[in-house]
Subunit: 284 residues, 2 copies
């Protein structure tokens, strides 16, 4: 099985490492706009060879597109133009609706499986890739009925090799839910980091006062703007609604503080403690 991985960063690189480890791939062909990434991917044994997008797609049995979502939207149609009859193409993007719309009417649409293996760290690039990133995480497959069965089965097999639980969802519902459960977290973290950096010109004060609580809440503010700007752009409506509700909750909280309504604040926190049960579920 020849696998072409387009985008040799954290996600693409980590998938490649796991597929090699499982002897699922006969050869991994890497594609990346950035020559440094290509060089590093060879050194780190993420890719066996590097090729141009066109060549690598033509040679592949499976194409995995692991680049920012706006770039995926742009090149996916062209990729489907160039594949062999039974080549399977999948992506890993954190938004799904626009990507699916971009190839909706392509004659090879059924060769494409819209995927979202939900894992990541705040780091990026080939160096941040590691085997096991996806273990025990969830892999979402969207609009299953629009792909060939053999294609779905092969991507399921890959997700299983990565150690993922598989869930199925409409691309539309995916984008709505992920706005709340993932995209909003990133914005809350970026806004927190900005607020603190802006206030605390003297960084040693942050350094001295920050406990692990601050560190975990602000961790996502280290994430890559190159990756996240297109995500917010593609999921604009849902992200804007989620932000609106989040801001409303914060405004209410502030109002209760300003009005000395501490019983309401207590009850709000008590009921939100419910998240503990949900998070414990995540860990199972």
């Amino acid at each position: 099985m020849i696998i072409t991985v387009i985008g040799l960063g954290l996600i693409g690189g980590s998938i490649a490492l796991d597929l090699k480890k499982a002897n699922f791939s006969e050869k991994i062909i890497g594609v990346d706009n950035n020559p440094d990434n290509c060089k590093m991917a060879l050194e780190l044994n993420i890719a066996d060879e590097i090729d141009s997008l066109e060549n690598a797609v033509q040679k592949a049995d499976i194409v995995i597109v692991a680049i920012p979502v706006n770039s995926t939207e742009k090149i996916l149609f062209k990729i489907l133009d160039n594949i062999k009859k039974e080549t399977i193409v999948t992506d890993v993007g954190s938004t799904k609706e626009n990507i699916c719309l971009a190839v909706e009417n392509h004659k090879n649409r059924k060769n494409f499986v819209a995927g979202h293996p939900i894992a990541g760290t705040e780091h990026s690039g080939p160096k941040s890739a590691f085997s096991g990133l996806f273990n025990n995480k969830t892999g979402i497959i969207c609009d299953k009925e629009k792909s060939y069965d053999f294609a779905i089965k092969k991507i399921e097999e890959i997700y299983q090799i990565l150690g993922m639980k598989i869930r199925y969802m409409d691309s539309n519902a995916h984008d709505l839910h992920i706005a709340y459960v993932s995209h909003l977290s990133h914005i809350s973290s970026f806004a927190l980091g900005a607020t603190v950096l802006d206030k605390e010109k003297d960084e040693s004060t942050i350094f001295d006062l920050a406990g692990s609580g601050f560190e975990s809440t602000v961790r996502l503010a280290k994430s890559s703007p190159e990756m996240w700007t297109p995500i917010f752009q593609q999921n604009k409506e849902n992200v804007s609604s989620a932000l609106e509700e989040y801001i409303k909750n914060l405004q209410d909280f502030k109002k209760h503080i300003d009005n000395n309504d501490y019983d309401i604040i207590f009850d709000f926190m008590k009921s939100t403690n419910e998240i503990r049960r949900v998070l414990d579920g995540i860990k199972k």
Copy 2:
């Protein structure tokens, strides 16, 4: 050295465990309103004996007050009434100004050291206590000049045993900075948890879609309302200002999304990535 620990939860319990381990204490006397906590503290070897507040204070060489900040504010004056001449009293509260004001004019004010060992987890109660909680964290000592030198030295010794770096600050400045670097993180996390719980009535969706990013951002929403409500109350003005600036940042972010100003969003995230350097500093 007889040490009285008032409040046998995560913080008081963890301090007790470390002081016993270092053979710094001849005896730890525990005080807690909750009989279950007292029983558990004996079982877990956090305290050697349990006594009433009054008895335990009278017997102590050092009194460590590790209860919610509003309760500290209420009983600290009475504690200072009851101590022996050279007894040292310290607290661990996440707010400092009101606590210091409460005993400002006490004849034994100089026996008191206003402290904030900055560490914690989202768990509470004696069972959550563990040796090493404070290792490599920062311990703040406030209004140093208002305490006897021998009292400051002894608390510094304790912080060193706990493995903390020591910093000095005015109680006033402490409360301002900690509003941004700690209290705001907790509110952002509670509001995030509430927004997601409210939207996602079907918890299995949260469970399936939440990556580790959500988990780390929302972790503090598991924190105890009993502890945090009084903190927000005591630090009302600073917390309200910090929240106002945070909400402003989020509103700007939303406006840029709504207006398709993605270049601005990119730049905002890029400059906030600076937090990486600060966080790496925290870890040193």
